[in-house]
C-alpha cells in the first residue's frame, strides 16, 4: 500500500475480482431469459440463502467494491496533484483512448448505477430476508418463487430500462480499458500474449455488458 506500484497492483487485483463476480452475476441473470425463470429462481434462492455466499462471499464483494472505488478516487486525486499547472493546449486524444483517460467518469457512472441497483434489488432482499426474516423465497400470498417475478417487475418502467442500458454502456467503456490494464498492472504482458489479452478483454468488455442489456430489453419487451 505504500508505493504507487503496490497501489496499482491492488487496484488490478480488486478489478480482477469484480470481473469474475460480474461474469458470475451475468451467468445467473442470463438464465432468466429461459422458460419462466425456473433455473433463475433456484440459483437465486441458493445464492440468497447460502450462508457461505451471504456471510463470506458477500462481505468480500462489498469490501472489493468499496476498495476499488475508494482507491480509484484516491489515485485520481493524487494524479491530479501530480500536474499542478495544467496545459493551456492539450490533445490527449492523440496518444491515449478516451476510455483509458476517463476511468473515473465511467467509474462514477457505474457507482451511481449501483445506488439504483441496490435500491432496486439488494435493499429489498436484505429487508425481506434479515429484517422480516422470510427466508422462504416464496411470493407473497401467491404460489411460486419470488425472484423471477421481482426481476420482471423492475423492467416494466421504460425509464429504468434506459438507465440500466446506459449504465451498461459505461460499464463496457470501463472494462474496455480496465480488463487489459489489470493484466498490465500485475505485470502479465509481453508482445507474445498481449494481442490475446487485448482481444479477450475487448470481447469480455463488449459481450458481458451487451448481454446485460439484452436481458433488460428482453424482460421489458416480453412484458409489453
Amino acid at each position: 500500500m505504500k508505493t504507487s506500484i503496490a497501489r496499482k497492483v491492488l487496484m488490478a487485483l480488486s478489478g480482477f475480482f469484480l470481473i469474475v463476480f460480474l461474469l458470475q452475476h451475468f451467468i445467473i441473470n442470463f438464465t432468466s431469459v429461459f422458460g419462466h425463470g425456473e433455473t433463475f429462481n433456484s440459483l437465486s434462492h441458493f445464492m440468497g440463502t447460502s450462508p457461505m455466499v451471504q456471510f463470506v462471499a458477500q462481505p468480500i464483494l462489498i469490501f472489493g467494491v468499496i476498495f476499488h472505488l475508494a482507491m480509484g478516487m484516491y489515485l485520481e486525486a493524487q494524479n491530479n496533484k501530480a500536474r499542478n499547472v495544467k496545459y493551456v493546449m492539450n490533445k490527449p486524444g492523440e496518444n491515449a483512448s478516451w476510455m483509458s483517460r476517463n476511468m473515473i467518469i465511467t467509474g462514477v457512472m457505474i457507482l451511481l448505477f449501483l445506488g439504483l441497483h441496490f435500491y432496486d434489488f439488494w435493499i429489498p432482499e436484505i429487508k425481506t430476508k434479515f429484517i422480516d426474516g422470510d427466508m422462504s423465497g416464496a411470493l407473497n400470498g401467491v404460489e411460486g418463487t419470488r425472484y423471477f417475478h421481482e426481476l420482471q417487475h423492475k423492467f416494466v418502467d421504460v425509464w429504468r430500462v434506459i438507465i440500466y442500458c446506459l449504465s451498461f454502456v459505461f460499464l463496457s467503456l470501463h472494462l474496455l480499458h480496465g480488463f487489459q490494464s489489470a493484466f498490465q498492472s500485475v505485470g502479465f504482458r509481453n508482445h507474445k500474449y498481449l494481442p490475446t489479452i487485448k482481444k479477450l478483454g475487448n470481447l469480455y468488455a463488449v459481450l458481458i455488458p451487451a448481454g446485460f442489456i439484452f436481458i433488460a430489453l428482453f424482460h421489458y419487451l416480453t412484458q409489453l
Binding site: 504507487s4 500536474r83 496545459y87 492539450n90 483509458s100 483517460r101
Partner: protein, 252 residues
Amino acid sequence: MSDKTMNLTLKIWRQKDAKSKGKMETYPVTGISEHMSFLEMLDVLNEQLVVEGKEPVEFDHDCREGICGMCSLHINGEAHGPDRRVTTCQLHMRMFKDGETIYIEPFRAKGFPVVKDLVVDRSAFDRIQHAGGFVSVNTSGNTIDANAIPVPKDDADEAFNAATCIGCGACVASCKNASAMLFVSAKVSQFSLLPQGKVEAKDRVMKMVKQMDLEGFGNCTNTGACEVECPKGISLDNIARMNREYLKASLK
C-alpha cells in the same frame, strides 16, 4: 527540393523564474522555411527578439540530433509536437501549415518545476537513478572477461531497446497523471534483463520506485500515452516488467 516559407503565430509560455507566475504570450514569425527544425524556428524568433532588445525565449537544447534528451517542449498539445518518434530538435516545420497558430509550453508536472520560460528542472530523473540506476561494480577494469558470461541475443537486444531511453521526460509530460513509470521501468528493465544486473534487481526496483514516488510523479493508469509520445519508442512491456520485478521483490 521546394522551399516553401510560412508565417506563423506562436503562443509561448513566458515565466521569469521558478517563483514567478507565468503566462502565454503571442509572437508572430515570418518567412519560416519548411526545412527548418522546430528549434531553428525558435532561433529565428530569438534572433529577432535580441535585435529588438527584448528577452529571448529560454528553452533547453543541446545536441540537436535527437539523442541527448535535453530538448523538451509541449507543442500544440503534444510532447515533442505532432510528429512521431522524434524529439523537438528533429521536428521539422513541414509538419505545420502556413498561417497556423502554434502553442508552445513547457513540460508540465509537479516533478518538473519550471526554471524559466520553457526550461524545466528534470533533476528528479537523476535522483531516481542515484537511488539504484546502476550495477555495483568498481571501475578497476579487473572484472571478469567480457565474454565470460554469454547473454542470449534476445535479452541483450531487449535490454538495449530499454536502454535507448534518452531521459527527456516526454513520458511524464504526456501522461495524464504525470507518471514517470516508463522512464523508471526502462532502467529497471535494462538491468533486470542482463545477468550483470540481476544480482541487485530486488534492491534496485524497491529503491527506484520509492524515489520515484517521493519526487511527486503520479500513478500509472496504463493509458499508454507515454509509449506513443516517446521519441525512442520505449515499450509499455517495460512497465509490465517493472511491475513484475516489484511484485517479485516485495513477495520475497
